[in-house]
Symmetry: none
Subunit: 127 residues, 4 copies
């Protein structure tokens, strides 16, 4: 399994296990991780990103209790079969809402024109 599916920023304000959890949720909702698909093991992820295995384990555990992942004996963690498989646009959009609202709030405080903001977003998207 590829442990590099995750992007970790060790010094970010958001705790590592939350970064993992958030990415898991979005990648499952977006369909990049399909139901039944195996996840990289705790050790792989921890080793690859040089973080504490307990941190990865915690993220997986929380994902399990949220119904995102399932524990398969002798196999490891897999994407839950009943996990919303590539939820509709509307549902996925809802997951983006917090980030979108925060962006707009900050842009307002900076008194930036909406056009510049949209342009920058598009540029980042394509980059």
């Amino acid at each position: 399994m590829d442990a590099s599916i995750f992007t970790i920023q060790p010094n970010a304000a958001e705790p590592i296990y939350r970064q993992l959890l958030g990415q898991l949720g979005r990648m499952i909702a977006g369909g990049q991780l399909a139901p039944g698909e195996r996840l990289p093991s705790v050790r792989e992820v921890a080793g690859h990103h040089a973080i504490n295995p307990m941190t990865v384990s915690r993220a997986y555990g929380l994902a399990e209790s949220e119904g995102l992942l399932e524990r398969r004996r002798g196999v490891g963690m897999v994407v839950a079969t009943q996990a919303a498989p590539a939820a509709g646009d509307q549902a996925r959009m809802a997951l983006l809402e917090p980030a979108a609202r925060e962006l707009v709030r900050q842009a307002r405080e900076l008194e930036l024109p909406i056009e510049s903001v949209l342009k920058r977003i598009t540029s980042l998207w394509e980059g």
Copy 2:
């Protein structure tokens, strides 16, 4: 002085003093707070938002050490006279960069079409 220039979300993950600090930085860069302008006193802000004065003081103190604010003895805090006075669009855009990158990353993980994202942003902007 209007203590309501700040917006506080007590339950957000971001600590209160950081919310204040971030808003200060953006409002100064955006020109909503002009160099030399007086800020609401620590006690006013604390009273208005029902938070501890020390929390506000902490934000003001950090803003001072970042060069955003200046302490005028016996007067209070004012926007630093050498603070980026309505910095150029480019500089202000830079302050939005982290939020923009985060949004794009999440949108990618959700495999959302860029059009939907831009539409939602525009809608939030106008709302």
Copy 3:
């Protein structure tokens, strides 16, 4: 960890957290604290000097925001790996500049002969 690396003067005009911050900066620049080296924990320092943990935490936090220290999650604070590792004589001398200027200014106001001043400094150094 040795919590006694710091010297605290509770009755000095300089606030405790500033004393700690200043000493940290000089000991790192002087090489007494090497990059990567672990610092005594907040609780150790607080207990050893009978001061409030928050006071120590404040010093550590400021040192972090100045780039002197780094926070290692679950480990504690360590000297920043990119912190001036035994900066050159010149750079270290610069940190002494304020104290040196203040001394000279006072000596001038006292109209003391330079020789006496140098002699006293040497004597204190050796003492």
Copy 4:
């Protein structure tokens, strides 16, 4: 009277009235201000340095209560006639002691060679 006998640093950590008080004490001990000599008025000093008259008044008042100055009706403040007139080297050296000790302590923390320190002091003296 020349209001520029004082050197004021409005943003220094040391409060303004203390800066004034310290300079007064040293200049009297050093003989730059002779017993009976008139001091610049509160208004002159305040105006010249753009500080609050109350601050100057406070320094003068404290100096008076320390026996450094005397209030002459209709004249203003003058250096006390019984103020140690150009105290002996030893007494004046004592007034320099705090600054000297602080310098040495910082130099030690910086692990600077004594020679460099003495050289810098001499250089500042002559500069």
